[in-house]
């Protein structure tokens, strides 16, 4: 027992050191009032949001997907579906599998949006497989969103802090935004009969928590952070010489979703 305590104390000292160094700002705990009784403590995952007034005009967030790390487990899809009660057959986020053979043919599939993970290899590929990789997809949070441009009533919009959201109490369900999105990130929710899409977990980010898909990813393939913080992982990756790309740059939408290690076969 002494050794255990010593081990735990050792970790505690390391922990506090890190806090003081500022790389874990876990000293700010969110105490969430959960109704009349009881509170739960949830540590802050995005430093700098809690403890001060949220100035919408000054926020800049980035989402980076690291293709070299995705293992296709589908945890992100499952967590997202649970967080938002996403109806079957529609997807706020999904994970695609790309298979390449030696003739440069590309085979892409996405069974059930990747919700079940990829439990079995593909058996219908003719010839020998050269390479396989997974690509998570979600809303690109474009800086010039075509969906916002075409909404006839102003039910989808880009907030001053850079999130493209849907006002589901105002949306008429015309599905024009769904046609306009070059990334097929949107769908018509059959329960609310309005447009719906990934929101980068705005309700979590506002509380200083990471989006659910980022939080549950066991491989750290999804990253989210504050670009105003130069110490954040996303700032450091974007400032590094790594090759960072976006999907469909020719569309001119200027997505805020970046990919690290994206392969040329991905559309």
């Amino acid at each position: 027992m002494k050794n255990v305590k010593a081990a735990m104390n050792k970790d505690r000292r390391e922990f506090i050191k890190k806090v003081l160094r500022g790389s874990i700002a876990g000293s700010l705990f969110l105490v969430l009032p959960m109704g009349s009784e009881g509170t739960i403590q949830v540590p802050e995952q995005i430093p700098g949001i809690r403890g001060k007034k949220y100035d919408m005009e000054k926020q800049r967030f980035a989402f980076i997907v690291d293709i070299t790390r995705c293992i296709g487990c589908g945890s992100c899809c499952v967590a997202d579906k649970r967080e938002y009660d996403v109806p079957d057959g529609h997807y706020r986020t999904w994970v695609e599998r790309y298979i390449k053979d030696f003739d440069d043919n590309v085979y892409v599939d996405c069974p059930n949006g990747g919700l079940d993970g990829y439990q079995k290899p593909r058996t219908d590929i003719p010839g020998k497989i050269r390479d396989t990789f997974f690509v998570p997809k979600l809303c690109n949070m474009c800086e010039r969103p075509s969906c916002v441009q075409v909404c006839p009533v102003g039910a989808t919009f880009r907030t001053p802090d850079g999130f493209v959201l849907v006002d589901k109490d105002y949306c008429v369900g015309c599905a024009y935004c769904i046609q306009a999105c070059p990334y097929s990130a949107r769908f018509l929710n059959p329960k609310t009969k309005t447009a719906d899409k990934c929101t980068w977990c705005y309700h979590r980010v506002r509380k200083g928590l990471l989006p659910v898909c980022v939080h549950v990813c066991p491989a750290k393939a999804r990253k989210f952070g504050d670009l105003n913080d130069p110490e954040s992982e996303v700032s450091q990756i974007l400032a590094s010489p790594d090759v960072i790309t976006v999907l469909k740059p020719e569309m001119g939408n200027h997505p805020a979703l970046y990919y690290k290690g994206l392969r040329r076969e991905v559309v």
């Binding site: 997807y91 006839p152 009533v153 024009y176 309005t194």
Partner: protein, 405 residues
């Protein structure tokens, strides 16, 4: 894997990849019908304006009928849209907070203004007739005529001259308004850069031209059928002149439609593989065989032979009616191929989804049939209120009468 293998479907199962959210086709039959209906409205209005503004005297027999025809379809233009919306009860938002950057937001005001224009043009043109009918009517009909003539019985030369000026004005600004009414629909599609089949500056032009085609063809077809049904003679000079306009409009329309495909096939941007796969794959029958083959080339040559070889009246009317029917189908097919076809191509650039409308679903075949028959019923009802044709014995002209004060 060869391109041929991909397109003939051999490799389709393995190589076909559709984004998960692209599997479902969101804009279905209702969105096919809406441009079809507004197209007919715009086209029929142009027929009427050819008489009222450009003084094409040959079209006098259908000058009033085509307005009623347009009005009947105008009454039903919002139905497919309301049926399609997830929240039709929120449709007022389009009038209260229209988004200036959205083409679709124009619908509320463009439709309303156009409705006002068309209704008033009809009321002004029919005012002398309705005044005469009011004198002979009793009870509810008398009240109706009173309201529709705005309580005015004045048919003095000065009054009729004012009416004539107003009719001319309405018919004149009606032409650009009809262009906007259907042009903006084309822009709704043309402005979607995410769909390669739609994204084209030619889209508003093609939609507008095919609108004229469908309107003129609709007037010819229904005019001949109604006259035959009622056992009345068909004014063949009118049909011949209409057919000339129809042929001219269709030549231009068909040219632009083919130009669009040709541009894609020549430029061979990365979209070409998808569009080629679509037009020679899922759309092979409905586009090349039906829309182009049966419903474009046949009427094109048929009308050409009729007009260039100066075929005689009865034969001309018969074949022109067939050509008009084919062209009505052509325009519907064009809307289908553009709206549905454009959505069959997944934005993954790697596959196509499928679309099979059901008979009994919300946006299915039965609602489509009902929505397309409704204008005919409304037209029939309108015919009960005002005469569709210039019959002898009923005062219809804007010539002055004596004595009324």
């Amino acid at each position: 894997m060869t391109e041929a293998a991909v397109h003939t479907g051999m490799a389709a199962n393995i190589m076909n990849y559709v984004f998960p959210n692209d599997l479902h086709v969101h804009w279905s039959l209702m969105i096919v019908l809406y441009p079809y209906i507004t197209g007919i409205i715009a086209g029929a209005f142009i027929v009427s304006s050819l008489y009222h503004v450009f003084k094409v005297q040959d079209l006098k027999p259908v000058s009033r009928y085509s307005l009623l025809f347009a009005l009947a379809f105008l009454a039903c233009a919002t139905w497919p849209l309301l049926n399609h919306l997830g929240h039709p009860e929120r449709n007022w938002e389009m009038l209260v907070t229209p988004n200036p950057s959205s083409a679709m937001a124009g619908f509320g005001y463009i439709y309303s203004l156009y409705a006002v224009l068309l209704i008033f043009e009809v009321l002004f043109i029919y005012r002398p007739t309705m005044v005469a009918l009011k004198a002979q009517a009793t009870g509810k009909m008398k009240t109706l005529y009173n309201i529709l003539t705005f309580g005015s019985d004045d048919l003095s030369p000065r009054s009729l001259a004012l009416d004539k000026k107003i009719i001319g004005f309405l018919a004149a600004i009606g032409i650009p308004m009809a262009c906007i009414l259907h042009g903006y629909v084309g822009f709704i599609f043309g402005a979607v850069k995410a769909r390669p089949l739609w994204s084209s500056p030619l889209m508003p032009v093609i939609f507008l031209l095919s609108a004229s085609v469908s309107g003129i063809a609709g007037v010819i077809f229904s005019y001949v059928l109604i006259q035959k049904f009622k056992g009345r003679p068909v004014d063949s000079k009118c049909v011949i002149t209409l057919s000339k306009f129809l042929w001219g409009a269709f030549i231009i329309c068909f040219t632009f439609e083919m130009l669009e495909v040709f541009q894609h096939s020549y430029l061979k941007t990365h979209h070409w593989d998808m569009i080629h796969g679509l037009l020679w794959g899922p759309l092979k029958t409905s586009y090349w065989k039906l829309q182009v083959g049966v419903c474009s080339l046949i009427p094109l040559f048929l009308l050409g032979i009729l007009i260039l070889f100066k075929v005689r009246d009865k034969a001309f009317v018969f074949f022109a009616t067939i050509a008009s029917a084919l062209l009505l189908v052509q325009v519907l097919l064009m809307r289908w191929n553009v709206v549905i076809g454009g959505q069959l191509m997944s934005r993954s650039s790697r596959g196509f989804t499928t679309f099979h409308p059901e008979f009994f679903e919300k946006e299915g075949i039965l609602p489509a049939i009902l929505i397309m028959t409704a204008p005919l019923v409304i037209l029939w009802l309108l015919g009960k209120i005002v005469p569709m044709w210039e019959d002898k014995g009923v005062l219809t002209s804007t010539e002055p009468t004596t004595g009324h004060k």
